[in-house]
Symmetry: C4
Subunit: 234 residues, 4 copies
Amino acid sequence: MSVLASLRDDVLAANLELARRGLAPETFGNASAIAREEGLVVIKPSGMPYDALRAEDLVVTDLVGRVVDGTLRPSSDLATHLVLYHAFAGIGGVVHTHSHYATVWAQAGRAIPCLGTTHADYFRGDIPVTEVMEPSEISSRYEENTGHMMTRRFEGLDPAAMPAVLVAGHGSFCWGIGVADAVHTATMLEMVARLAFDTVTLAPIATPISGALLDTHFRRKHGPAAYYGQPGGA
Amino acid sequence: MSVLASLRDDVLAANLELARRGLAPETFGNASAIAREEGLVVIKPSGMPYDALRAEDLVVTDLVGRVVDGTLRPSSDLATHLVLYHAFAGIGGVVHTHSHYATVWAQAGRAIPCLGTTHADYFRGDIPVTEVMEPSEISSRYEENTGHMMTRRFEGLDPAAMPAVLVAGHGSFCWGIGVADAVHTATMLEMVARLAFDTVTLAPIATPISGALLDTHFRRKHGPAAYYGQPGGA
Amino acid sequence: MSVLASLRDDVLAANLELARRGLAPETFGNASAIAREEGLVVIKPSGMPYDALRAEDLVVTDLVGRVVDGTLRPSSDLATHLVLYHAFAGIGGVVHTHSHYATVWAQAGRAIPCLGTTHADYFRGDIPVTEVMEPSEISSRYEENTGHMMTRRFEGLDPAAMPAVLVAGHGSFCWGIGVADAVHTATMLEMVARLAFDTVTLAPIATPISGALLDTHFRRKHGPAAYYGQPGGA
Amino acid sequence: MSVLASLRDDVLAANLELARRGLAPETFGNASAIAREEGLVVIKPSGMPYDALRAEDLVVTDLVGRVVDGTLRPSSDLATHLVLYHAFAGIGGVVHTHSHYATVWAQAGRAIPCLGTTHADYFRGDIPVTEVMEPSEISSRYEENTGHMMTRRFEGLDPAAMPAVLVAGHGSFCWGIGVADAVHTATMLEMVARLAFDTVTLAPIATPISGALLDTHFRRKHGPAAYYGQPGGA
């Protein structure tokens, strides 16, 4: 199977998984993947219901967003995905969701504090939130500027250790080595966002876990000293 | 198929969809549609469980609420629907629900603030709530006066840009070009109501999104400059 | 079919419905019915999982709680049910649940205020909560005294207009003409308890609806002037 | 069937039940059982999805954690389980979960107060939470030290009357005579944690139930004077 055909399958599976897990209610969400050597991106078409989606509906574009294959319009968030692919050289897939609790934190304009080891297993620190956009950033090239809000927020942050961001007043974006990883991160983001939401409801001044605990948990699952899971496993 | 037969099918499908989506627990909800040229309204019969509902159970009335076809009593909320059809000339369907979060805002007597783009995609501003009814408005023609509470609240508002309203202490009404649109709006109202509920729980003084962001999102989906979805699509 | 056989069927169906609706998690709940002329009560056996329950497992007792048919122990709450049957002459069925939101109000020791018409359709006013039991009431005849806590709370209240009560620190009891009505009331109690819970979370000093609105909604569904539903219907 | 084969079946069933009940989202959870005479423990392999788990995937270790049967790595939490088996002589099974509400209390660093009889039926008093771990306890032998945090917290407590503990900033551990009991306790812990969470949301200074009521309910279900359920039943 060609790289592109394989990528189409991955992107279709990722979009269906977003819907199946309830992370993208209605048509609020999209997944894409990039073939860097070929200079191609595969993305969900705009506004299409997940239950009708087929591999041949997916849209293939080049890295500046020109459609090179497909008869449908690409997701209106394509320009945002492209900014992320340009800025984060190590990522192969991006997903955007309006999953409930992640969106609640985004609407509140608050980063998600690291209050437990569930969080530390996936995200090395607080999950950041962008600044609010200026009217001039909204009135022109809105989707592209949404991408710039995120990459600006990531100055000094490592997208491999922090594979998600909240867009203030909007929703969330996640990424990963492949698009399936990005979907898994979106799943964990929602779980962690819900845990943190209820924790601060119960204890408004809950203390984040220590740096020592954060590092131990993150390193149990990631990097050369990982000992969680099976050798060679996911 | 005649206009009326087609309308019956739409109203049956809309009522079943309300139940299927959990927007009308027990028998708390109803959907209707209007054939303006024929001067007829099709509505759910009163107090009937959704799982037993058939197209022939639906009640057809004229525009002052007299039954012209059907052996069952129409929904006790018929008079409310009729007031909306008279006041909002552009609408073809109305749904009433007691969906959980919309009802919570209605019971709290609070409009739903526009705290994110999910909201802005469907509702151009805060979703309004009626005043509390006076005893004299309740003791006589209660259902009709419920309609007047809503239309009075809409003085100066455009029902096409704000297709929903909360009735204080009660529940919500939504409308649209057709009854299927009204059901879709009721679905989005519940989603937006839940997002706003949790957002103000997390951040009691959360700031509404800017007018620029509100307008951009609403216009992405509605009106001549819309670019979300596929050309000619829903 | 004999009165008793019919009652067994009703009580089995009621217990299964409690489980199916999630009102009685694990084995936390039970339903009973009374045949007043025969002086018999049919009740769930103690601690039995709902999915294994058969009509022949149900226990038949007389009105002082002596088993007259059945090989299993009756629910440990039998004595509570019997107190209610003695005190409220018009009821034919009783259900006890630990449904989530009703139990939350009971644990908080707060009556459920009437904050909306959904509540008023079923309960004519605030849903009362008992006093906390004294140690002497707990150490002996605990279950019987639980019943007395409720009937004492109902001095001056009409059990036909208020078919439910919260037991402080414990859970809820509902009743009705028949046991199916009691199950339906338990369903509505949970719905209303959840609506009120979220309403006071959003608006801690939310105002109860007016007496005029309360009466209009209760009378739409109950009594000689009811006009909700179909004539002769449920 | 050998003791070990039987234990494998129990541990497989327990892990699957954790997943089925939503107590162990993703791979966040594990169950083990001990054969004390044989000096063997059976535990879930690390990081393995529940839906792929088979009895032969389970790992058998001795009481110091050396694998004696199985080709996969044992759960990274094995050392924690072993500390509990050493400290609590009467237990035969242990489960670890990240179930939502129990984790919320753990992240808040708060014990779960006994606010109702549902709680008292299973846990004789407040469900304790450990201290926060020191960096030196985290940097070396982290999982073993997690176990020591729990057993230190249980000085003066009876693990038979209090079969669960919260680990601050992490999750919960439950135990029982057998691993099926431990799973049932984890189910009740989550139910009780959710009830208490919403109760303190509604009434931040809610009063715990009296010692008299706590004892009566616990003794109805446990010990020589128990009268809940059927004689000889579970």
